[in-house]
C-alpha cells in the first residue's frame, strides 16, 4: 500500500532518510538480520509463496483417483482409494494396481497433455465430474518410485500393455541420455 513511503515532513527526523516507512524500515533491518543468520534466502523463498489461496471444486462420489504417470511414451497407471472418512486419496496407501480398472481415456488424455506441454516426466491425478467426464485434480513432477515399480507394467503410446516391473528412473535415464540398451538395476 505505501510502497513509496511517507514523506518525513512533519514527523521526527531520521537523519538522511528522505522517506519514513515503518514497513520498509522493518523489512530493511529484518533482511539484514536474516542475512547475518544465513536465513534470508529461505525466508525470501517462503515469502514469495504467501498471500494466495487455491480453491478447487469439490467433486462428490469419487471414492478414488486414478494416477497416470507419463515418462516419454510410457504410461504407468493405478488407482488410489480415499483415506478413511476423508475425500482425499493422496497418501492413503490404498492402491489398486489392476489394469482392467484403468480408464484408458485417462491415459490418452495424459499422453496428449504431456506431448502438448513438452513434459518429459509428469504424474496426473484424475477424477470424474458429475457427468462422468475426466477432470484433472493435480499434476506432480515428483512421485514415489517404488509405487511405479510395483505396477504390473506400463502402456505405450499406442495403448499396448507391456508387462514387467520398471523403475521410473530407468526410463527417465533412457530418454535423457539416449541410451536404449541401458540395463535396469535390480534395486535403487
Amino acid at each position: 500500500m505505501f510502497t513509496s513511503g511517507i514523506k518525513s515532513e512533519g514527523i521526527p527526523s531520521f537523519g538522511n532518510l528522505k522517506y519514513f516507512n515503518p514497513y520498509n524500515l522493518m523489512k530493511y533491518y529484518g533482511i539484514k538480520l536474516l542475512s547475518a543468520l544465513n536465513l534470508y534466502t529461505s525466508w525470501n523463498t517462503w515469502n514469495k509463496h504467501k498471500m494466495y489461496v487455491l480453491f478447487q471444486e469439490f467433486l462428490p462420489h469419487n471414492d478414488y483417483d486414478t494416477r497416470i504417470t507419463i515418462i516419454g511414451d510410457r504410461a504407468y497407471a493405478y488407482r488410489r482409494f480415499n483415506r478413511k472418512n476423508d475425500f482425499r486419496s493422496s497418501g492413503s496407501g490404498l492402491i489398486d494396481y489392476s489394469i482392467e480398472s484403468i480408464d484408458l481415456d485417462f491415459i490418452k488424455t495424459a499422453f496428449h497433455v504431456s506431448k502438448l506441454l513438452g513434459f518429459q516426466s509428469m504424474a496426473y491425478d484424475f477424477l470424474k465430474d458429475q457427468s462422468g467426464n475426466p477432470v484433472f485434480c493435480e499434476f506432480s513432477y515428483t512421485f514415489k518410485d517404488q509405487i511405479l515399480y510395483d505396477c504390473p507394467g506400463y502402456w505405450d503410446s499406442s495403448l499396448n500393455f507391456i508387462e514387467g516391473h520398471f523403475w521410473p528412473q530407468y526410463f527417465q535415464l533412457i530418454d535423457l541420455l539416449e541410451i536404449s540398451n541401458l540395463k535396469q538395476p535390480n534395486d535403487l
Binding site: W167, L173, L177, I179, P185, D187
Partner: protein
C-alpha cells in the same frame, strides 16, 4: 577437456551419466559419493567399475575431498 562434477556418482543415475560422459571421451568426470546406506554399498561400488578403469575419472568419497583416487 571439460571437467564435470557429478554428486551421487555411485548411484544408478550418477554412474549411468558418468559412463555416458566418459564414453564420449571429451570430459573429465569428478565423481563424489558418500556411500550412504540407502542400499548396499557393494552395488554402488559395482556401478563404478567401468569408471574406475577410465583415467578421465576422479573419485572422492565425501564432499570434503578427504579421499581421492
Amino acid at each position: 577437456m571439460k571437467k564435470v562434477l557429478i554428486t551421487g556418482v555411485a548411484g544408478f543415475i550418477g554412474s549411468s551419466l558418468s559412463d555416458m560422459l566418459l564414453k564420449k571421451g571429451k570430459y573429465h568426470v569428478i565423481g563424489v559419493d558418500n556411500f550412504d546406506d540407502y542400499y548396499d554399498k557393494s552395488i554402488k561400488v559395482a556401478n563404478l567399475n567401468s569408471a574406475f578403469n577410465n583415467t578421465n575419472f576422479t573419485f572422492f568419497d565425501n564432499p570434503r575431498f578427504a579421499f581421492s583416487r
